[in-house]
Amino acid sequence: MTRLELTLATAPVGALDLAPLLPATLSGMTLDQIRRLRLRHGTRSSALGDIFAVNGEPGELLALRGLTSGCLRVGAGLASGTLEISGNPGDELGREMSGGTILVRGNAGDGLGLGMSGGLIRVQGSVGDRVGGMLPGATRGMNEGTIIVTGDAGERVGERMRRGLIAICGDSGAYTGDRMLAGTIIVLGACGPHAGAGMRRGTLLLAERPAQMPTTFNPSGTFALTIMPLLAQYVADIDRRLARRIADFGRAERWCGDMAHGGKGEILLAAAAAGGR
């Protein structure tokens, strides 16, 4: 597979908008054309060649190296191809993404996968708030796709999420699954307060029991759910370790809620967590 590599050489003043850098957009261009591309930062713009060192050959795979938190909207609108990112990119990575893959070796900022409708984002570090959340003004968050975060996540993971899968292998902050409409969120570490607040449907899978279960959720028994092996199988292609953890969940204690919003959602506590009751 051909690979184009852009290495951040001189970070410009002001937030750098990297939404234009998609494999499909660059694939038909020569290296010179790519160097001449204008990138906006703050209220100004500069040639890509003045900001990045450009190597390789444009194609399906685009590597962005040495990104900093000033690099916004990396991979926004990605529909196909693969983005490999090293460094710690900033906010709104994979915003409105509809397909393809983004792999981040480092931490990412707020609003990862905002309004996402397909594709896969894997982050090997930690991320900020509102993972898979909604665009400003939208009534629905993430609509499809998969987000897997190896580290921790901030507040409001999967806010108003409609469909898809978000897995946080570390801890997640307050209001995980806030006003969730449907979809699946897995948290392997500690989950912050108010999990599933305002949740209508969907599943919140927690490996650890929260310090306090939300008062608007009702316990409704312990089950060996068929969905677990299926979920493990789905994830196995992407992350074997995560798949093993899900397979180890065993029987799950099921809590229904949010009872103030119809109560068709559920929080599933892994057997180990339930046993520690």
Partner: protein
């Protein structure tokens, strides 16, 4: 300096000039007589073959005040999906249906508009409205203050106070809120909503006060007449959007008994109940009544297909419409229990029978009302469509075959239900100049506007004469405001700030004592907190206050 605009084709209905080729001379912001020797002009701009009109005026456009801001807050996607390149003008802003103030001013200027009027300012919210208008550059502006659902007026009517007392109150409100005219929205109905009435017909009593909309309408229309305001009572009638409301509107016209009134966004008030869907066009009946009633003028409130926001003081009707919100969210508001407001996002669809027929009804109205001096071009921005659709609307009016092509694309049942296809009328450039320039200037009493005669303010738009009228009106070649070139080829080249137009009719100071007592007793602020001072409008010299004369000016 004397500037000569050479060889343009002039359309100046105010002075009866219909397409005559002649030169225009400008000096110190005014149009002046041709000098004896044309060489006196130091600057000559050759506009041979171009169409020249005065600057356009929008008589009814929601560009400032509380509800517009609610729309902006509730729909960030309206801005996020309609970005303006930041390098065009720094900090210009953006937005589709509820653009930021600065964007609105620029877009108006870029279509050749020089004055815009916000038709729904609440006295209690006047300061906010004027601040937004002050932030709207490029155009002159003004606002109509809402009366007719306020507790004070309704109490006075219920107590059968004499007309003189009402006039004093109306005059005080105009002064305090720095308004140009009076508007009434769903007379008494917004108030009745708070007494759990969900509709209020023209002769139905408001449960709280025992007052009917008809009483409110005639009382206000009479006050406006007695105060001698140039612009008649601006009426947003009862039953907006209700099938069958054509009867209400006809009743309203009859009920005015010769008093002058301006019926606004009449398209929304011209629905019958015929046909399988119990929704039909009442445009022909309204047009007939308007043609026979010289005391009535109207603007259409044409709808255009696409996404927009409906923002109205009519909380009663907006509540009813909230079920159709797209996207599904809406806001209903009340300010100080004085009036209401509802903001409902909406998408007009050409495949939808009702929307398609609404579109046709608006166009029927334009084409069936004979006198262009009494019908103004509006989309009730943003309720029918954003004002940026005016050029498209002008093309629909001026180009019969284009209109028929568009008609062929809408819902087939709506096509069958409208007479639009059979109407041959095409507006001429002269008539467009009347309805967008001369007539609104006259209706609002704006001296020096809507005219290209010597002495008039040098508001001039120059268009390339193109067969495609949409393209032509979307992008004027030159726009002059007060003699200054502000737009070149549809792009702003100079940012200017317009004046605010107001009236200050005199009133008996005794009303202030009553109001003081009333405010102390019932309101959260004192009466004097409402008053917007002249200096506030002047805004440290950025703005300018133009006070128009009334019968009772001091």
């Amino acid at each position: 300096m004397l500037t000569r605009l050479k060889g343009g084709r002039i359309y100046d209905p105010e002075n009866g000039v219909d397409g005559e080729v002649r030169d225009l001379y400008l000096r110190n912001g005014r149009i002046v007589e041709a000098p004896a020797d044309p060489r006196e002009a130091k600057e000559v701009i050759d506009i041979s073959g171009r169409v020249v009109m005065s600057g356009a005026i929008d008589i009814h456009t929601h560009i400032g005040g509380g509800k517009v801001n609610i729309g902006r807050m509730m729909l960030p996607e309206d801005h996020a999906t309609d970005l303006v390149a930041a390098n065009r003008h720094p900090h210009l802003g953006c937005g589709h249906a509820a653009p930021s103030t600065r964007t609105a001013g620029y877009r108006y200027a870029e279509m050749g508009y020089v004055a815009c009027f916000e038709p729904a300012m609440l006295a209690g919210n006047a300061r906010q409205a004027h601040m937004e208008l002050a932030d709207t550059p490029m155009v002159d502006k003004g606002a109509y203050v809402l009366l007719g659902n306020d507790d004070y007026l309704l109490r006075a009517l219920a107590a059968k106070r004499d007309p003189e007392y009402l006039r004093d109150y109306v005059a005080w409100t105009l002064n305090a809120s720095q308004a140009l005219a009076i508007k009434v929205v769903n007379p008494g109905g917004i108030n009745a909503f708070k007494f759990n009435q969900r509709k209020l017909d023209l002769d139905e009593k408001n449960a709280g006060y025992g007052i009917t909309p008809r009483q409110i309408l005639t009382a206000l229309a009479d006050s406006v007449r007695a105060l001698g305001l140039a612009h008649p009572l601006h009426v947003h009638g009862c039953n907006l959007g209700v099938p069958g409301n054509v009867e209400t509107t006809l009743d309203t016209i009859r009920g005015l008994e010769g008093l002058r009134a301006h019926l606004t966004h009449v398209q929304f008030h011209s629905y019958g109940t015929e046909g399988d869907q119990k929704f039909s066009s009442g445009a022909a009946r309204i047009a007939e009544a308007v043609n026979a009633a010289p005391n009535v003028s109207l603007d259409v409130g044409q709808i255009m297909f696409g996404r927009t926001i409906t923002e109205s003081g009519d909380s009663m009707r907006q509540y009813a419409g909230s079920a159709f919100a797209d996207p599904k969210k809406w806001v209903g508001m009340d300010i100080e229990c004085e009036a209401g407001c509802g903001v409902v996002p909406f998408r007009y669809k050409d495949r939808n029978f009702v929307n398609a027929l609404q579109w046709a009804i608006g166009l029927e109205m334009f084409l069936l009302v004979d006198d262009p001096w009494r019908i103004f071009l509006t989309t009730d921005h943003p309720n029918g469509a954003p004002f940026t659709s005016y050029p498209h609307l002008i093309r629909l009016l001026m180009d019969r075959s284009f209109r028929r092509d568009m008609l062929a694309t809408i819902n087939p049942e709506a096509q069958a239900a409208t007479t639009l296809g059979a109407i041959d009328r095409e507006y001429s450039l002269y008539e467009i100049a009347i309805m967008t320039r001369a007539a609104p200037a006259r209706s609002l009493g704006l001296k020096g506007f809507g005219s290209l005669a010597p002495g008039a303010r040098a508001h001039i738009t120059v268009y390339k004469d193109q067969a495609n009228r949409e393209k032509m009106f979307a992008k004027p070649e030159y726009v002059f405001k007060d003699g200054q070139l502000i737009v070149r080829n549809g792009r702003v080249v100079e940012e200017v700030h317009g004046a605010t137009h107001v009236v200050h009719p005199d009133y008996d100071a005794a009303i202030e004592r009553d109001l003081d007592t009333y405010f102390d007793r019932y309101m959260t602020v004192r009466k004097d907190n409402l008053r917007v001072t002249d200096d506030e409008v002047r805004d440290d010299g950025r703005g300018e206050l133009v006070v128009h004369p009334t019968k009772r000016s001091t």
